[in-house]
């Protein structure tokens, strides 16, 4: 059979970049980041079971510059994945599909996760002194 260029469905590059697809991609990215966070959570739990010395080693990592960087990343990923996940659950229930609703809930998820992340870290820094 001769090879012939078949019509393809439009590739990703052909779509105009907009909030819907951006947040869809961000949902997967934050999900993957949180999966890595599960490793850190298990590591932390194992360090508690190991006693004060191993806990001190774990906390030295989490309180270090790299640890704080990761924790801030995980906290944003968590809040975004949570809010956008609820958005997905509403869609699964058949609600919130209108264009205006989609955009409003998307921006709500973005603003909400930024505000919650900032609030969390302001709260932590206020209580760690």
């Amino acid at each position: 059979m001769p090879a012939r260029a078949r019509p393809l469905s439009p590739h990703l590059e052909i779509y105009r970049w907009q909030i819907s697809n951006t947040l869809s991609i961000l949902h997967r990215v934050t999900g993957a980041i949180l999966a890595v966070g599960l490793i850190a959570l298990s590591f932390w739990l194992v360090s508690i079971a190991g006693g004060p010395d191993s806990y001190a080693v774990a906390m030295r990592f989490f309180r270090g510059a790299v640890g704080i960087f990761f924790l801030i990343g995980w906290s944003f990923a968590f809040y975004f994945h949570l809010l956008n996940g609820v958005r997905h659950l509403f869609w699964d229930a058949g609600r919130g599909f209108e264009k205006a609703q989609r955009h409003a809930s998307g921006w709500f998820a973005v603003a909400g996760s930024v505000i919650l992340t900032l609030g969390t870290w302001i709260w932590i820094w206020g209580h760690s002194s």
């Binding site: 999900g31 999966a35 739990l45 508690i48 006693g51 906390m59 996940g85």
Partner: protein, 136 residues
């Protein structure tokens, strides 16, 4: 009987009744992802709230907090459900973006081992703390 629809469809009547599709799983994967998502809303918020309201994160405070039965129980549920939810999610990501069969099988199998290891370690550690073995 609607003979027309039977003749025009390439699916067998049995496959149509079972409704499991080509992957033979139906909506099980999709549905589990949603159910675990709902379960994780209270569980993750509980962990975040608990850690943020602890007076300090020194060893004794954290160990005492985790060894309270309610905390230990919720922490075990959190680790188990998170591992399963993350397994479902990263499986879909892998299936969508990794196209070579060998690499796909390798990554999917590695993920399975990783989640069982990670979840098992986390839950075992919590049990050790709850049962008071952490200082032996």
């Amino acid at each position: 009987m609607d003979l027309g629809s039977l003749i025009l469809s390439l699916r067998s009547p049995l496959s149509r009744v079972e409704g499991l599709g080509s992957a033979k799983e139906g909506t099980a994967h999709w549905w589990s992802q949603r159910v675990t998502a709902v379960a994780l809303i209270p569980l993750t918020l509980w962990l975040a709230f608990s850690l943020m309201t602890l007076p300090a994160l020194d060893y004794d405070t954290v160990r005492v907090w985790l060894s309270v039965p309610v905390s230990g129980f919720l922490a075990i549920l959190l680790v188990a459900v998170t591992a399963y939810h993350a397994y479902l999610g990263t499986t879909v990501i892998t299936e969508d973006y990794v196209h070579s069969t060998g690499m796909k099988v390798l990554i999917l199998t590695t993920l399975k081992f990783l989640y069982v290891l990670c979840g098992g370690l986390g839950m075992f550690a919590i049990l050790r703390v709850v049962l008071g073995f952490s200082r032996l």
